[in-house]
């Protein structure tokens, strides 16, 4: 802790965002990277707690107090090496992580937390700027061949770690380019894709082989996969979306969020989309059903595509704006989040249940909703929802996006062919060593855990790599997380 009383001298100063009127015109990053000196100043607020709750809350166990201190002292190299020791994708988490660490920051107990996420971003970007990020030199190869299915954050972390352990890693991806939801889910205005490409190039130089456009189970048989490789990691994500099977669902103009966002990202990247497949919000009244992060990404995307108005509805009640006694520190609180997309416009409504889609000429024209209320739990597992009689109303909608979450991984195809066992939620079941019910086949990330955060995916990938390395070699020098 360079400055003992830094937290008393300086208040929290988060970085800035571009002006709303300017940023909705393009898909570039809404965040303005702050000067290194400001990050250093903010790092001085870190109290270097002997019981670092930030480190405890972080799924990958980042060494937060230590790299804060290094950065404050100008030791960028040491800060970077500590950061890379626990995180394969700090430039991603530094941009899109909800920062579980900041919600557990001890300073956040009775003051404002340290700007940990932005500090992390400052360290990694300084690293890139000063040419400190170089491909890792792999000492000797083990001769073992490992396949990673899926190139999202968990697959990428798993592959990168196993490659460093000396195995020959091949990452299979059914999309055209690697990245998973990082590339085809998170909009550019939150994560520009060259950030991802920059990192992928380094891994390619380290020896990771990427095979894109290959769908395991379709283009590459499962039997061949098991024969060609000594171990396989299933990191295909949790992509089966929850559907709203209500009257009018078959009408045109109703899409899943993932389809909408993926296509938008493709268009931003320059891909041409055929007319009949185009999902465009230009001039339309857009309704986004689902009040989570995917929903907010859809809101931002719709704004940029020129929607005439955007309404986001959510069935649960509006969360509180700050912690109350039911959400004590240091746990991650479920409180109201106002994302950059919400600042750009649009309306949000809570406790609204969609009853049916109403169409005209086989295209959706409006949705019919009802207000609901939740009664207290009364000893049951969760509160009961009740429709408020007489509260029906309608919202005009030319384009409806369903952003109501993901149920479990797509079970048909690869998983079906492999005959892995599923758990009660439909996710791939593994033992405590991350191995599925099929020998040599492991699983990590959302495919194993259900939909979750990028940082959890990285933790999963790293852990799975450790267990796979241990399985292949008898013991492992990789870190457990």
């Amino acid at each position: 802790m360079g400055e003992e009383r830094g937290f008393l001298k300086l208040g929290r100063q988060a970085g800035c965002y571009r002006q709303v009127c300017e940023r909705v015109k393009d898909f570039k990053d809404v965040y303005k990277i702050r000067p290194e000196s400001q990050s250093q100043e903010q790092a001085s607020r870190c109290m270097d707690c002997s019981t670092p709750f930030c480190h405890w809350a972080c799924p990958i166990g980042n060494y937060i107090p230590e790299w804060n201190d290094h950065m404050f002292g100008g030791n960028w190299k040491q800060a970077l090496s500590l950061l890379e020791a626990s995180n394969n994708l700090p430039e991603i988490t530094g941009r899109v992580c909800p920062a579980l660490c900041e919600y557990s920051c001890v300073l956040g107990l009775n003051d404002q937390p340290v700007t940990i996420r932005e500090n992390e971003l400052a360290i990694i970007e300084a690293g890139f700027k000063n040419g400190l990020i170089k491909p890792y030199h792999i000492g000797s190869r083990t001769g073992k061949k490992v396949a990673v299915i899926g190139s999202g954050p968990s697959g990428l972390s798993c592959g990168a770690q196993l490659n460093r352990a000396g195995h020959n890693v091949t990452v299979f991806e059914r999309d055209n380019k690697p990245g998973g939801i990082l590339r085809y889910g998170i909009p550019d205005f939150k994560l520009e894709k060259h950030i991802l490409d920059r990192r992928l190039d380094i891994w390619r130089e380290e020896g990771v082989v990427f095979k894109t456009g290959i769908n395991i189970g379709v283009d590459y048989s499962v039997d061949k996969l098991l024969a060609d490789f000594d171990a396989v990691c299933l990191a295909g994500g949790c992509r089966a979306p929850r559907d709203l099977k209500i009257e009018g669902r078959q009408l045109k103009g109703i899409y899943f969020a993932m389809d909408y966002l993926t296509q938008s990202n493709r268009r931003v990247a320059g891909d041409k989309i055929p007319e009949e497949e185009l999902i465009d919000a230009k001039g339309k009244k857009v309704v986004v059903i689902g009040g989570g992060d995917s929903g907010s990404d859809c809101v931002g995307t719709a704004h940029r595509q020129g929607a005439s108005c955007v309404v986001q509805i959510e069935v649960l009640p509006r969360p509180a704006e700050c912690r109350d006694s039911s959400q004590p520190w240091p746990n991650y609180p479920l409180i109201l989040k106002i994302s950059t997309s919400h600042e750009e416009g649009g309306e949000r409504q809570w406790e609204v249940l969609t009853k049916r889609f109403i169409g005209q000429r086989n295209h959706v024209k409006k949705i019919s909703c009802v207000k609901v209320e939740f009664s207290p739990a009364n000893g049951k597992a969760c509160p009961l929802m009740r429709e408020i009689p007489g509260s029906e109303f309608e919202i005009s909608a030319d384009l409806v996006i369903l952003a109501v979450g993901f149920l479990h991984p797509e079970q048909s195809g690869m998983l079906d062919e492999l005959k892995v066992k599923f758990d009660s939620r439909g996710n791939v079941m593994t033992d405590k060593n991350y191995m599925t019910s099929v020998k040599n086949v492991f699983s990590a990330g959302d495919m194993r855990r259900g939909q979750s955060l990028v940082v959890w995916a990285i933790a999963e990938g790293r852990r799975c790599a450790y267990f796979m390395d241990k399985y292949l070699m008898g013991q492992s020098n990789l870190p457990v997380i």
Binding site: E4, R5, F7, L8, M47, C49, S50, T51, F53, V106, L107, L109, N110, D111
Partner: protein, 656 residues
């Protein structure tokens, strides 16, 4: 490592009620100084609400806290600790206690003293500890008045005299052999023994001590309980255990191993907001628990209700365990190691060869050997000389006569003055009596602890000699000692008082016409004394007051001295070799000292007719040149800072 055996349970309604059990809980000794005032008071209020006890720790206590609050709450700590630093141990402090605890050692740093860094000694802390703000406070590792078990028995006796209604406890540390020490302590008439485990916390200890020193309380309690049982001493004392206790299960095991009271410390701090920042020593606690910083103290958000709630949870769990073991009361549980067994599953392979049976050993003893506290200790307070003094004082007050007592004294009369001072404090309040309100003249050879805790307004005059511990903890009184008028030896060459005189003196005056033994005025915080020679280690760890030595000192004078001033009459210019110069500087007498020296020497002559004093006073101007001023470096810096502030104040007034 220990599990409960399966037995026949009883219904939980039959287990003794929570209110009775709560009285057995205490909080550990966390001093005001190590933790903030609000934290300390919150703990006191909570423990007083449930009928348990909180502990002052080593830092003394603000007398304001002895007054009950309008809503019935009390901020007064029930246990007053007497530690090696003797900070704030005045007669008023002792009289306002339900229990006085002698801290022999601390579990988390056995064998070491503590240190409160200067920057944590704020104005309030300094006042409460009777020292100077900004000056580092060092607690010596041992009590300088306890070098043997007899000395400890003497201290227990002194404290019992000061406050006969309080119980006296001794805090020991869990280590091999603690049973033997405890047996000695029990024979020395302590009412309670605390065995402190090594896993406890501390804000003032080197890391190596925190991690590697000390043993768990389970071993200590086990050994102590068994040793006391085998010597039939167990029923005369209470046993208390502490050291990272957190759950009802910990309490149950402590009881089954032999403890009847249970101390919680770190857990309580966590309850009122500690997040284990471990910045205690930096005075930087961001949750306001362990800091004296004004800004950070405002962030304290703990409340007594939280602590009460926590103990309710503990008791609930404890009662459930008691019911499952078929026990209806804590008394039934004490020492019932037959209900415990070793959990072999968690013992690692390397430790499987160890024989653990001694921990759970239960000696076969006849029925009448008590398993827990039953019998009050004999304390022989009935026949102390003070009873006579108190009687005469009462008589004089009734008849509205000045209190002038004249008695013979013997070396079997120990702690003379302690009980009288306690009574004066209780009846009149602290520091209310005027100087010389009660004057006692004694003839003969005084026993140990003559004038212990002497309160303001009482003057003791002794013609003869005294033994050790004269004026221990003197709290404003006046002590005068001179040789028998018939003798003809030189007063500045012959010993008149024993060792460790004025240990932990708070304030008052002393005029000793003779040579005192070793460790004179150790931990003096404010006494003004004149003596005509001392042995080794004079004025060690002194933090306040003024001492004049009119003769030779021994070696290692002023070791650890961080406050107060000593004036040594250095006739043969050899003093420098015998002085410990680590923390002090030797200087010539300054103008500001002359008044003090003149007044003290005049008093010395007035009270004792000292020939040495007369010689010096008759030629003061020249004699002053032979004096050496022993000035602690830190103290000088603080005094000069205060003088500058005073000058600035005057300047501001002049500017108008």
């Amino acid at each position: 490592m220990l599990n409960f055996k399966k037995t026949n349970p009883v219904p939980i309604e039959e287990v003794e009620p929570a209110e009775k059990i709560l009285k057995r809980f205490v909080t550990g000794a966390m001093s005001f100084g190590s933790i903030s005032g609000s934290a300390h008071e919150t703990i006191a209020i909570a423990m007083n609400r449930i009928g348990g006890k909180s502990n002052t720790g080593e830092g003394g206590e603000d007398p304001n806290r002895f007054i009950t609050l309008p809503n019935g709450d009390s901020r007064r700590s029930a246990i007053k600790q007497v530690a090696s630093g003797r900070f704030g141990v005045t007669i008023n402090y002792l009289v306002n206690a339900d229990e006085i605890q002698i801290k022999i050692a601390q579990g988390a740093k056995p064998g070491e003293g503590g240190q409160l860094p200067g920057h944590k000694v704020s104005g309030i802390i300094a006042r409460t500890r009777y020292t100077t703000p900004g000056v580092t406070l060092i607690s010596p590792p041992p009590h300088h008045d306890i070098y043997s078990i007899e000395d400890l028995a003497q201290l227990i006796f002194d404290l019992k005299n000061a406050n006969p209604s309080a119980r006296v406890s001794v805090k020991l540390v869990s280590e091999v052999g603690v049973g033997t020490v405890a047996a000695g302590v029990a024979k020395g008439h302590a009412d309670m023994i605390l065995i402190s485990g090594g896993d406890g916390g501390t804000g003032a200890s080197p890391r190596s001590s925190i991690r590697y020193a000390g043993l768990p309380w389970e071993l200590g309690i086990s050994e102590t309980h068994q040793t006391l049982l085998l010597n039939n001493l167990r029923s005369r004392v209470r046993l208390q255990a502490d050291g990272q206790m957190r759950t009802g299960r910990d309490v149950a095991i402590a009881a089954l191993l032999g403890a009847e009271e249970y101390g919680f410390c770190s857990a309580i701090l966590v309850v009122i907001g500690c997040v284990m920042l471990r910045h205690c020593h930096l005075n930087n606690c961001s949750v306001g628990v362990a800091t004296q910083d004004d800004i950070l103290q405002k962030r304290f958000s703990g409340r007594p209700e939280y602590i009460v709630n926590y103990f309710n949870f503990i008791v609930t769990e404890l009662r459930a365990i008691m019911a499952s073991l078929g026990l209806r009361s804590i008394d039934e549980m004490i020492g019932r190691t037959d209900l415990l067994e070793l959990n072999r599953e968690i013992i690692p392979a390397k430790a499987s060869q160890i024989d653990y049976s001694r921990i759970l050993y239960r000696p076969e003893l006849p029925e009448d050997v008590g398993r827990y506290y039953k019998v009050k200790q004999d304390n022989t307070l009935d026949s102390v000389l003070d009873r006579k003094l108190i009687e005469i004082w009462g008589g004089c007050v009734k008849k509205n006569l000045p209190v002038r007592i004249s008695l013979g004294i013997n070396n079997t009369d120990r702690a003379v003055g302690a009980m009288l001072s306690g009574e004066v404090c209780k009846r009149c309040g602290e520091g209310v009596l005027l100087e010389d309100s009660i004057v006692c003249k004694f003839d003969g050879i005084a026993g140990q602890s003559f004038g212990a805790f002497l309160a303001k307004g009482i003057t003791f005059e002794l013609e003869g000699m005294a033994n050790d511990y004269v004026g221990k903890g003197i709290s404003g009184g006046k002590i005068v000692i001179y040789p028998n008028r018939k003798v003809d030896y030189k007063s500045d060459e012959n010993i008149i008082a024993g060792n460790t005189s004025f240990y932990g003196a708070i304030s008052g005056e002393a005029y000793i016409s003779g040579v005192a033994g070793e460790r004179f005025c150790v931990r003096n915080s404010g006494l003004y004394a004149v003596v005509e020679g001392v042995g080794d280690h004079g004025c060690e760890y002194m933090t306040g007051g003024r001492v004049i030595i009119l003769g030779k000192t021994g070696n290692n004078f002023a070791a650890g001295m961080s406050g107060g001033i000593a004036y040594v009459y250095d006739e043969d210019a050899t003093f420098k070799q015998r002085c410990n110069l680590d923390m002090v500087e030797l200087e010539k007498i300054k103008e500001s000292d002359k008044d003090t020296i003149y007044h003290l020497l005049s008093n010395h002559f007035k009270y004792t007719n000292s020939i040495k004093a007369k010689i010096i006073l008759d030629n003061l101007h020249n004699q002053l040149k032979k004096f050496v001023r022993v000035m602690p470096v830190e103290y000088k810096r603080i005094l000069e800072g205060a003088k500058i502030e005073q000058k600035l104040d005057i300047a501001e007034d002049l500017d108008g």
